[in-house]
């Protein structure tokens, strides 16, 4: 199920995109109730004011 996306394609200098190779059925099947419940909240919390290092999860 972990299929790599196709290579990102530059649209113009300021934009990139990727066309995903998975079928909708595969993706919907992947997201079971259990996987949705266990998905980690994504966030960027900067550790201290003034620091530029991002703590991404």
């Amino acid at each position: 199920m972990q299929q790599p996306p196709s290579k990102p394609q530059p649209d113009d200098d300021s934009v990139t995109h990727v066309d995903l190779t998975q079928s909708p059925e595969e993706v919907l099947e992947y997201w079971t109730k259990e996987r949705m419940a266990e998905a980690k909240p994504r966030e960027i919390r900067l550790p201290e004011p003034g620091s530029r290092a991002a703590d991404q999860d």
Binding site: D12, V15, L20, I44, L46
Partner: protein, 321 residues
């Protein structure tokens, strides 16, 4: 939690009235402090083993407990020797009530075009928030750059669940077929450009996303310092990711990293709200003009990127695909 800790700590001091109720119910080894010839004290107290009291109250004893108004009647039978003249008067005094720690974020009912997004980065499954936006393809979702791409690698298994609440997906789940992000985010992780867009497939019946849930208008290159309402599904404590929350405030520049060009509003939404929409004005009917991007430790402010020309180009590419 507080109650459990308090009970476990062992000893409680109760008011005289509460002691009377416990003693009359039988079994509690408590007695008011005796008078030693000094003037009658105005307050009596006793120390009670709280663990014992907790053990005492079996379901049977709780069911057979005598209503408290019986005790009030007995107290009256003992005599009513006070007179209004003897009631001591002092300075007016009040004690403020106590509530649980409030959040800045406000609980909301589900909104049809706002939802959760689930995706995989590497081998880890993540959750963010997103919003369906008006587009030529009727299939575009706005979210955060860090919810579609990390260090140049795009997410897989990307799905949008509009109006999610407590596990319910009233408008179904919409799988993405393409993801878009500004090059500056993808190549450098520049916080200035932390925005992404997903283009989703039609549902099983061939319906397009915004034909089903509606889509917000979008705005770019707007004035700074506007009032915004941001929405999201915060999942990290004290939230649980199961319901929608919002914050409203006037945007101000990030004083710590002004080079980002971002703006912040007072908001304590946590992880999982990333990618949730910022609407100009109050409520969810306005045009979208940013997303929940980042915050600082111990500082309840949510920052969002300024939607300028590069993010506009990203939207335009996604919306026209």
């Amino acid at each position: 939690m507080t109650r459990t800790r308090s009970l476990a700590s062992g000893l409680l001091t109760l008011s005289a009235a509460a002691v009377l109720a416990l003693a009359s119910a039988g079994g509690a080894s408590a007695a008011p402090a005796p008078s030693d010839g000094k003037p009658t004290p105005s307050v009596a107290s006793v120390t009670v083993d709280a663990g014992g009291a907790a053990d005492y109250w079996t379901p049977e004893r709780m069911q057979s407990a005598v209503p408290g108004d019986t005790l009030a009647g007995k107290a009256l039978e003992r005599g009513n020797r006070s007179s209004a003249l003897l009631v001591e008067k002092g300075k007016p005094a009040t004690t403020k009530g106590t509530k649980g720690k409030p959040t800045i974020a406000k609980s909301e009912n589900p909104v049809s075009h706002i939802g959760k997004v689930f995706f995989t980065m590497g081998t880890t499954n993540y959750v963010c928030s997103g919003n369906a936006v008006s587009s030529d393809n009727s299939s575009t979702v706005a979210t955060a750059g860090h919810c579609v791409n990390e260090s140049g690698a795009y997410a897989t298994n990307f799905v949008f669940v509009p109006a999610y609440e407590n596990g319910a997906a009233p408008y179904g789940k919409w799988a993405a077929k393409a993801l878009y992000a500004p090059t500056q985010w993808v190549s450098k992780g520049d916080m200035t450009y932390d925005t992404g867009f997903a283009v989703v497939n039609p549902d099983a019946k061939g319906h397009l996303l915004t034909d089903v849930v509606g889509g917000s208008g979008v705005a770019f290159n707007q004035a700074r310092g506007l009032t915004y309402t941001s929405y999201g599904y915060p999942a990290a404590s004290p939230f649980n990711g199961e319901t929608l929350w919002s914050c409203t405030g006037t945007a101000t520049a990030d004083p710590n990293n002004p080079q980002f060009g971002t703006q912040g509003i007072p908001c304590d939404m946590t992880g999982g709200s990333s990618g949730g929409p910022w609407f100009i004005g109050i409520g969810s009917d306005g045009v979208q003009n940013s997303i929940n991007s980042y915050g600082y430790n111990r500082n309840p402010v949510m920052y969002g990127p300024y939607w300028g020309s590069d993010i506009e180009a990203t939207y335009a590419n996604a919306a026209a695909s």
